[in-house]
């Protein structure tokens, strides 16, 4: 079966004061219809950049796709014209942004903003679009949707704003929904509500979801497969449960172990957390022909500094870009 989205050897370059840096370096992955794929990593590792590239929203004059293909249902989005992209964006592929406060227009009512999407993409009349917008607000479980559609974003709570964003993203029944840290700005109980909602909507509409997050717990609950990104490169890819049980890349291992999780078995003694020392390298380091995680890695050897690790394959299409993946 042909995957819904097939990204091949994608490289994105960002022009900075220090020169050109590959913020996404030779990334390949595929997404099947109805699947949830998660991108995990620290900030500055290229998770959001990947999402922006898929949407054709790279910052103008600064970021550009240097090479590679993004095949959506067989069409290459890299080659697509602006008009074609505009047709796909918000229609077949749509996105939920991190900050529900800043990504809604403060001077338009929620209803108008959702109706706008429907009028632009589906050519609905003003009235039909409004009715549809109210139905969508109902679908994302906003109480009294008829009344709330006339509210401005500032009149809603953070969780409700994020629901409105989801309603907007779902307006045209997209095939792919990209959620860029959809719950980072929200409280945990609201986060649980949003995850619950996303899960239900996926079941109803069959949309594939790309979930970008730094929370391993969220990944474990929401996604089937995950990609761990580090410094613009794929560190590890594979089924979520398998990776959590047995991570093959030291960075993945560090990410899972360094967070204090609530365990099923509580103990009175608390050990120190496992640290991943240091921080993500600066953009200047990106693109070097070596393992970029080497400076923070416990398993460092000469091979790591000599060349960029090749992906090592494991069962169930798990792969890790690390020379020591087999020993871990």
């Amino acid at each position: 079966m042909q995957p819904l989205l097939d990204v091949q050897n994608l490289t994105i370059e960002l022009t900075t004061r220090d020169g050109v840096a590959p913020v996404i370096d030779d990334l390949s992955f595929s997404l099947n219809a109805g699947e949830t794929l998660s991108f995990v990593g620290e900030s500055g590792c290229g998770k959001s950049m990947t999402a922006l590239a898929l949407m054709g929203l790279l910052p103008a004059n600064i970021g550009r796709i240097a090479s590679g293909h993004i095949l959506f249902e067989g069409d290459d989005l890299v080659q697509a014209s602006d008009a074609q992209l505009r047709k796909i964006r918000g229609n077949d592929i749509s996105m939920i942004f991190q900050e529900p406060m800043t990504s809604l227009n403060p001077v338009l009512t929620i209803g108008e903003q959702i109706a706008e999407v429907l009028r632009a993409h589906q050519g609905l009349s003003r009235k039909a679009a409004w009715t549809q917008a109210v139905a969508l607000l109902d679908a994302v479980r906003i109480p009294n949707p008829k009344g709330r559609a006339g509210d401005y974003p500032f009149q809603m709570s953070g969780g409700q704003r994020q629901r409105a964003m989801i309603a907007m993203a779902l307006a045209c029944a997209p095939k792919i929904l990209i959620a860029d840290e959809p719950t980072t700005a929200l409280d945990v109980t609201v986060q649980a509500q949003i995850f619950d909602l996303l899960g239900d909507l996926r079941k109803q509409t069959g949309a594939a979801i790309i979930l970008i997050t730094h929370d391993m717990g969220a990944v474990a609950e929401m996604a089937e497969r995950m990609i761990v990104m580090y410094a613009g490169r794929k560190a590890e890819l594979g089924p979520v449960d398998q990776i959590i049980d047995h991570p093959r890349h030291p960075y993945t291992k560090g990410l899972i172990e360094c967070v204090p999780h609530i365990q099923s078995e509580m103990s009175t003694t608390r050990h120190d957390l496992v640290e991943v020392p240091g921080i993500v390298p600066s953009l200047r380091q990106f693109g070097k022909d070596q393992c970029l995680f080497a400076s923070r890695c416990r398993y460092l050897s000469e091979a790591c500094l000599a060349s960029r690790p090749k992906p090592q394959e494991f069962a169930n299409a798990q792969s890790a870009d690390c020379w020591h993946a087999g020993d871990l």
Partner: protein
Amino acid sequence: MSDLLTVDNLTVRFEVKRGGGWGKKSYLYAVDDISFAVKKGETLAIVGESGSGKTTAALAVARLVNAHRGSVRLGHEDVLQTQDEDLRAFRQKVQFIFQDPYSSLNPRQRAEAIVREPLDSLSSKFAAEKTQIVEGLFQAVGLRPEQQRLFPHQFSGGQRQRIGIARALATQPELIICDEPVSALDVAVQAQILNLLRKLQKDFGLTYLFISHDLGVVQHMSDSIAVMYMGRIVEHADRMSLFTAPRHPYTQALLSAVPTVDRVKRASQKRILIPGDPPDPVNLPKGCRFANRCPMAQELCHQQEPALVSNETGHRTACHLVS
């Protein structure tokens, strides 16, 4: 060990414009009649969602906002009554670590000056002595001596938080209030800072009042936990009993909402969803503040506000349905 910090019936209110009518003032009770105590050398975590009053409670303890009622005692001293020179002495004993390491450091001062500032304004030590203390602090928080001359923008987020921690340690405080110290940091850096905080606690015998919304972090850091909802403490217990046997429905929902990588736990726990939003803090409803979202609310809950009652093991819960 004895209690270092004792808070009794602390109330903080803010005047708000709306809801009062002509010339009538109305108040938002951000912290409403809370009491707790922290033992010396231990960590009390205050958890709750945004708007629950956890930060305001901490600010009131540190005398950074004015309390409306109640008392705060540090050792034997009544904090809320201290003035002038006593207040300066008090400020040496209680220091604050802020949430955002980007906005809580003066961008125009060098790191050493930032760390030295509490000594300059609160102590009467000699310059040479201060330099020596600053040097020691840099070492204690894991920064290199040559980094003293740098400005905040030359540090990463985690290093900046280390500067913030060094500044809080400068006056050798007894109590440090950590207000979401790691929530602005990346996950891998969080672990570094949490480990550092625990190491410093052991080395210097510090007492922490730890504010956080991240239950995983709280579970790791604290000895006892107070859960706040809409300005009230709804549950207060030691670490083991709160996480293994939460009693208040809100705490249960909060704990079940945390996503976990532990598959055994995920399979065994059912997520309790609490629908809706918290009530309007200015016009609070009668009865229990959580009643409108509580999955097991009964008639009584809408009529009468439950008191925070302790059971025989010291596990305090404010709920009619828990006996």
